[in-house]
C-alpha cells in the first residue's frame, strides 16, 4: 500500500502527453521581457536602464528585502526599455525589455557540463549563494528559496523533502528533469541538506512515474541519507502540507509553516537550480517548461530562457491548434488562464497547457444539492459549500471561523462539484477579504 496524504484528494485524468520527451533547448528569441515581480514578496528593483549592454547571467534587478529576490538577464544584448507590459492577467506590470544580440555569457559562469560532486561552500555561503542566484520555488509558488533555507531561531529542521510529485495532470517538466539530470539533483539535494544541517532527505515521487522512481532509487544508493518515497497518485499531493503528511505523517497546524513540524520542502527543479548556482555559479535565468495539450501536435519539454514570449514556445511545439479555447500557464488544476499568448515565461512557469474549446468551457451552474462531495475531497478538511455561501453573502467573520484561510486553492472542490458550482472562485474572494481583515486587525 503506497503512502499518500490523509484527507480528501481527487484523481483527475493524467494526460501526460509529453512524458518521455527529451528536453530540447529553445532558441533564444529576438527580444525578451523580464517582469520584475516573478516571485512572492516585494518586487525587485531594476539596476539597468535603457541602452545598457547586458550579458547572460548579469544582475538586472536586485532584491528589495528578505522575501524578495534577484533577477538576472536571461540573454545578452541591449536594454530596450524598462516599461509596463501586460502580464498574464491583462494588468500592467513593470518589466525589463531586452533586445537580444548574440549569446555572450557572464565569464564567471561555468558552462562545462561535467558533474561537480564536491561541495566546497559552507552552510552560510550556500544560503547566500542561493539568495544571490535569484532562485525561487520552481514548482509554481515562486517563494524565494533562500528564505526556506534560513531556519528561524528556536525551530529545528530534521528532514528535507523534495517535491517530485508533479501531481498536476499534463505537466512533465520535473519528471523529465529527473530522468536527464538525476545526478545533479542528487548533488543539489546534498547541498540543501548541508545548508539545512540535516542528515535525512526524502524525494517524494508519484507512482505514475515508475521510470523516475527506479532511476532515482539507483542513484540514491550512492548518496548518504537520501531515500525515494513512491507515493500513490492523488491530487493535490504536490501541496507542501499534503506532501509532508504523505512522506512523514506529520500535519502542519493551521496557519503555520512546514518548519513547525521540522520539515523543509523544495521542488526538484529548484534543487537542480541550486546545484547549478552553487557548483556552476549559474544564476536562475532559464527553466524547463512543458508545452502540452490534447490537440498540440508536438507536446514537448523545453529548456527556455525567462522572458521568452509564450507564443515562441507554442510555435516550437507545432503552433496553436485550431480548436484552442484556453491557454493555461501551469497545470489544469491550479494554473492561470492567459489572456494573451504574448506574455513572457517567468521563473514560475512550469508548463503551458493548451486546452480545446470543448473542455475549456465550464458547465452551467446548478443549485447545490448538498451531496457533500466537496467536503469529502477537500484535502484540508474544510466545508467548501459553506465557504462559498458565506463568501457570497459577505459573512466574513463566519468565513474566518470556518478556517477559510486554510484553503490551499487546489481546486478539488470545483473539480468534483456535480452542480458545476464555482466553489473555489468564491472561496478565493473570501480568502482575500478575510486576509485583509485579519491583517488590519493585527496592525
Amino acid at each position: 500500500m503506497l503512502k499518500t496524504f490523509s484527507l480528501g484528494g481527487v484523481h483527475p485524468a493524467e494526460n501526460k502527453f509529453s512524458a518521455g520527451k527529451k528536453i530540447e533547448t529553445l532558441p533564444v528569441p529576438e527580444q525578451v521581457s523580464v517582469p520584475i515581480a516573478q516571485h512572492i514578496g516585494a518586487p525587485s528593483e531594476p539596476v539597468v536602464k535603457k541602452g545598457d549592454e547586458v550579458k547572460v547571467g548579469q544582475l538586472i534587478a536586485k532584491s528589495t528585502g528578505f522575501v524578495s529576490t534577484n533577477i538576472h538577464s536571461p540573454v545578452s544584448g541591449k536594454v530596450f526599455k524598462v516599461d509596463d507590459i501586460l502580464d498574464a492577467s491583462g494588468y500592467k506590470r513593470k518589466a525589463i525589455i531586452i533586445k537580444v544580440e548574440g549569446d555572450e555569457w557572464d565569464e564567471n559562469i561555468n558552462r562545462n557540463a561535467d558533474l561537480v560532486t564536491d561541495i566546497t561552500l559552507s552552510k552560510e555561503e550556500i544560503v547566500k549563494k542561493v539568495g544571490e542566484a535569484g532562485i525561487v520555488g520552481l514548482g509554481g509558488a515562486t517563494f524565494p528559496a533562500h528564505v526556506k533555507l534560513s531556519v528561524p531561531p528556536g525551530k529545528t529542521c530534521d528532514v528535507l523533502i523534495l517535491n517530485a510529485v508533479e501531481c498536476e495532470p499534463y505537466l512533465t517538466s520535473d519528471h523529465q528533469l529527473m530522468m536527464e539530470k538525476g545526478e545533479e539533483i542528487m548533488v543539489g539535494t546534498q547541498i540543501l541538506m548541508k545548508a539545512l544541517d540535516v542528515t535525512k532527505a526524502i524525494i517524494g515521487i508519484e507512482n505514475n512515474k515508475k521510470d523516475a522512481i527506479d532511476h532515482m532509487s539507483n542513484l540514491a544508493q550512492k548518496y548518504d541519507g537520501i531515500t525515494i518515497e513512491a507515493l500513490k497518485v492523488q491530487y493535490p499531493q504536490g501541496g507542501e502540507k499534503q506532501l509532508i503528511d504523505a512522506c512523514i505523517q506529520r500535519q502542519i497546524p493551521s496557519g503555520k509553516l512546514p518548519i513547525e513540524v521540522g520539515a523543509v520542502v523544495q521542488n526538484v527543479g529548484t534543487t537542480y537550480a541550486v546545484y547549478e548556482a552553487v557548483q556552476k555559479n549559474k544564476p536562475l535565468f532559464e527553466r524547463i517548461v512543458t508545452v502540452t495539450g490534447k490537440s498540440v501536435s508536438k507536446p514537448s519539454n523545453f529548456l527556455t530562457r525567462v522572458g521568452t514570449p509564450v507564443s515562441a514556445l507554442i510555435n516550437a511545439a507545432g503552433g496553436l491548434p485550431e480548436d484552442t479555447g484556453k491557454v493555461i500557464g501551469g497545470g489544469p488544476m491550479m494554473g492561470k488562464a492567459l489572456s494573451s499568448i504574448e506574455v513572457p515565461v517567468t521563473k514560475g512557469s512550469s508548463g503551458i497547457l493548451i486546452m480545446p474549446d470543448k473542455i475549456a468551457k465550464r458547465g452551467t451552474m446548478e443549485p447545490c444539492i448538498r451531496c457533500s462531495k466537496c467536503v469529502s475531497v477537500c484535502p484540508m478538511g474544510l466545508s467548501p459549500y459553506l465557504l462559498m455561501t458565506v463568501s457570497d453573502k459577505a459573512i466574513w467573520d463566519r468565513a474566518e471561523e470556518e478556517k477559510i484561510m486554510d484553503c490551499i486553492e487546489c481546486g478539488s472542490c470545483s473539480y468534483t462539484c456535480p452542480a458545476s458550482r464555482p466553489l473555489l472562485d468564491y472561496i478565493r474572494l473570501g480568502k482575500g477579504k478575510v486576509g485583509n481583515i485579519m491583517r488590519s486587525r493585527n496592525k
Binding site: 492577467s89 494588468y91 489572456s339 494573451s340 464555482p422 468564491y426 474572494l429
Partner: protein, 286 residues
Amino acid sequence: MNVVLITIISLGVLGTLAAIILYFVAQKFKVFEDPRIDQVEEVLPAANCGGCGFPGCRAFAEAMVKSDDISDLNCPVGGAETMSAAAGILGKEVAAAAPTVAVVRCNGTCDNRPKVTNYDGATSCTIASSLYGGDTGCSDGCYGLGECVDACNFDAMYMDEKTGLPVIIEDNCVSCGACVDACPKDIIELRKKGPKSRRIFVSCVNKDKGAPAKKACSVACISCKKCQKACPFEAITIENNLAYIHDDKCKLCRKCVSECPTNAIHELNFPPKKPKVEKVVPENAE
C-alpha cells in the same frame, strides 16, 4: 362555579404580582434616551442604506443629536428637505449639501470596445477583477457583470443588455454610494446633480496612454489635453493619462464636450445644441 371563581382569582393575583414586579424592574433598569433621537429618526427616510456612513438611520439620528456641529453630516437619500427638518427639531444649523447622483464613467459598449477574451468564471465583478483585467483590451473598464446593480437597494440601476453596461435611473438614485463601493474598478462616481440635472463628465477611467487606450476602446480618454485647454474655468485636470472634470469648478459651458476627439466627455440633460457638428452621444442615463 367554585372552580371558575378560583381560576379567576388566582390568575388575577398572579397577573397583578407580575405587573408590579415588571413595573419596578422597568424603573430600576431604565435607560435614559434622548427623546429627540426618536423625533429625528421619524423624519429620516428609514431606508437604512448606509449612504450617510452610519449603520442605519437610527445611528445617524443619534449622531445628529450628539454632535454639536452637524454640517458634515448628510442624509443623501432625504436630501436638503430632510436635513433641514431634522435640524429644525434639534435647533441646529445645517449646510445645504448639493444633491449628488451616481454616474457610470465607462462607455465601453460592445461596439466601442471589442472583446479580446471570453470570461468564463463566476458572475462577480470582484472575482473577475482579482483574476484579470477584463475581457477587453481596457484593464480599467466595466466588466458588465452587474455587481453594482445587485448592490443597489433603490431599483435605480439596471444592466443594459445591448451595451453590457450598467445604467442609472436618475429619478430613483438617492446617491447612497452602495454601487460605488461595490464596483472593484471605481468606475461609478457620485457627482453633483447640477441645475436641472445637467452634468458634464469624462465617461472613461482608462489610465493607459493615448495609443493603447484608443486601440482598446474607441471612446476612451486619450489624454490629448484639448479639453483642458478649452476649459475657461480650470475645471479639468489630467492625471495618469486621464482627464477629470471637477464638478465644483465646472460651469457647464460645454466647451470641452465638442473638443473631445473621442466623444469621451458626456453631457447629460442639456437641451439639444443648434445643429453645428452632428455628434452621436451614445445613450446614457435614463
